[in-house]
Amino acid sequence: MGTLVQLLVSGLSTGGIYAAVALGFTLTWRAAAVINFAQGDVVMIGAFIGLTLFVFLHWPFLLAFVGAFILAGVLGSVVERVMLRPVRNAEVWTTVVVTVGLSILLQNAARIIWGPQPFRFPAVFGEEPMHLAGIAIIPQSVGVLVIAVSLMLLQELFFHRTMTGKAMRAVAQDRQTASLMAINPDRMINLTFAVSFGIAAIAGILIAPTYFASFSMGLPISIRAFAAAIIGGFGSVRGSIAGGLFLGVAESLSAGYLSSTYEDAIVFGLVILVLLIRPVGLFVTETD
């Protein structure tokens, strides 16, 4: 029983990471119908901005946290304006190629600026385990999970309770009608990218102690988070969170109870199974 709980705790922690990154996919998809294949690399840039502000420049953590959100947000706004807006009405594959190009650009930029070697990022919530009823709980993992869920709640509040959020949803649903309602679609989509990049940067800071900050850290996270978003229901905020947690727990339990050798095969086999049985995702409802 202790092992099961330990595996669940670890799985939820890992799942929290996937969920935080999957949220970024969801945001840009909802607002602009863009699948940002550079999402993992934005996470990486966020980790490096955090590393620079917090470790190299010795800013207080909260200030570095906010600074990374703002700087990545500005980057998101520029990327949308310079790289994505010009191809907004082009074929979907054009957008795919642009975001893949962005991924390569960000990786190379990071390699040039911060170098090729991985950096250890201090775990601000602490890595020394707390023992509760024989279960080791890592404060950093709990912090990641709590912040990922908080981000989900904040996003839900933002999209449903604020005028800007409602305007962004309106643009995502029907751009032309939204513009008739005096909503500026360009501004809303730009804002969405800024928020999406900002959130990815926060995710980067949170997961860097686990993944180590390196220019190549983005892709493996991207693949898992993308799978999590699909399992949960692509485009659904709640689906992304649930899909992330589901994937993290599935990985942990399959390694613990089935086979650590075939962990990846089992988990991605499960993803295929989910898609075959319920292609829209496991955690979407009618209202999504």
Binding site: T3, Q6, L7, S10, G11, S13, T14, R81, V82, M83, R85, P86, G101, I104, L105, Q107, N108, A109, R111, I112, G115, P116, Q117, P118, R120, E127, E128, P129, H131, A136, I138, T210, Y211, F212, S214, F215, S216, P220, E251, S252, A255, G256, S259, S260, T261, E263, D264
Partner: protein, 386 residues
């Protein structure tokens, strides 16, 4: 209109920046031109990715050796020149890097790759190049391929496995080991030897678990070791996963020793794992804590030239270049066939121990020191150098 034009220009600049970032390997110690009298050493290693520090160490050690050898007359009278090709620690990239070193850089000899998975992927390409190659890869699987141009920079991992299993049983008194390995070419390649040696010492693993490359969560594997009442974890894998395992063993309070692959005590692993690396034990070819005056002089010189201490790849590649020079000077030629024949006869003792080859090019000299991490530093427990 004007604003659209400006944005278009900025977009163009972005694309240019992208293209400029894609080019180059990031490290090219030699100049691009090759004189016909040069002895070109193509070093294939990782200067990007998770193993970037390894490639940096390899390059810096090799450059120091070439500088020394050139001052003493070079390689059979030919000045040495190093050309670095980045394999990124990735098999597919490694194949291209080896091909580039042979076809584009016109290398007379190859050093590397280091990662067994890369060496195995590129073995056909390197063999077709028909030039001597000294690899620092140690997977026993490499020596079953019959590549007559391939030589070992250090003994294959069967030697290390033997040393560590024996040390685990006789010195650490581990009788119920948990065997954990990384699920890629290096870990898988050493698995049969690990099982054989554990069986030989009558200490079969109470549990055997794999760790996927790139994983950040090894809770299941450590829990399995605890549940099986293992009294030690014997680990065989690479740097990133070694750091993850060290952190997990510490966090989940596994009581027994963590010992095995050399990555456990690599300085790069220590940087990533921090204090969690304390207590890890492994056999390596060169230790910073080695009291030998020659070793300490090398460390001092390395620090003054590069601004940091080497991991074991720095001195190893320093030695590997010297092995090439010894063979070239013995053959009196840099002709590939003569160089290969001379390598088979070479006997050289350097910073990382002795080099001596069998008919297959495997290094049979055997050299290692067993070290333990104490307060973040390597401490020599036992010298088993041949």
């Amino acid at each position: 209109m004007l604003r659209d034009g400006i944005w278009r220009w900025i977009s163009g600049l972005g694309v240019l920046a992208l293209l400029s970032g894609c080019g180059g390997s990031g490290l090219s110690p030699g100049s691009s031109s090759k004189s016909s009298s040069d002895f070109v050493i193509g070093l294939v290693g990782p200067i990007t990715g998770s193993f970037a520090e390894v490639g940096k160490n390899e390059s810096q050690g090799a450059q120091m050796a070439i500088k020394d050898i050139n001052q003493k007359g070079g390689f059979a009278g030919h000045p040495g020149k190093l050309v670095f090709e980045d394999d990124g620690g990735l098999p597919a990239t490694g194949v291209n890097s080896v091909a580039r070193a042979i076809q584009q850089d016109h290398a007379n000899a190859l050093l590397g790759p280091d990662l067994s998975t890369v060496t195995l992927a590129a073995i056909q390409t390197s063999e077709q190049g028909a030039i001597p190659q000294i690899t620092s890869s140690i997977s026993p699987a490499i020596w079953t391929k019959g590549d007559k141009w391939l030589f070992g920079g250090r003994p294959n991992d069967a030697t290390n496995v033997d040393i560590m299993v024996k040390y685990g049983v006789q010195q650490l008194h581990v009788t119920k080991p948990a065997l954990i390995y990384s699920n890629e070419a290096y870990g898988q390649g050493s698995l049969p030897e690990l099982q054989k040696q554990l069986s030989h010492y009558n200490t079969p693993p109470v549990v055997q678990e794999a760790v996927q490359p790139g994983t950040k969560d090894v809770t299941a594997q450590v829990e399995a070791a605890k549940n099986a009442h293992a009294d030690g974890i014997l680990w065989w894998g690479l740097i990133p996963e070694s750091a993850v395992l060290e952190k997990a063993v510490h966090q989940f309070g596994f009581e027994g020793p963590l010992y095995g692959a050399n990555a456990l005590v690599n300085p790069d692993t220590l940087k990533l794992a921090g204090s969690s690396a304390d207590g890890a034990i492994a056999a390596i070819t060169f230790s910073l804590a080695d009291p030998n005056p020659t070793a300490q002089a090398f460390i001092k010189r390395y620090q003054s030239e590069w601004g940091g201490v080497p991991d074991d790849h720095g001195p190893l590649y320093y030695d590997m270049v010297h092995v090439l020079a010894t063979a070239a000077n013995k053959a009196g030629s840099i002709d590939p066939t003569k160089l290969r024949e001379a390598l088979l006869q070479v006997s050289y003792t350097g910073l990382t121990g002795a080099f001596k080859y069998d008919a297959n090019g495997a290094d049979v000299a055997g050299s290692a020191v067993i070290v333990k991490i104490i307060s973040g530093q390597q401490t020599v427990l036992q010298d088993v150098r041949g």
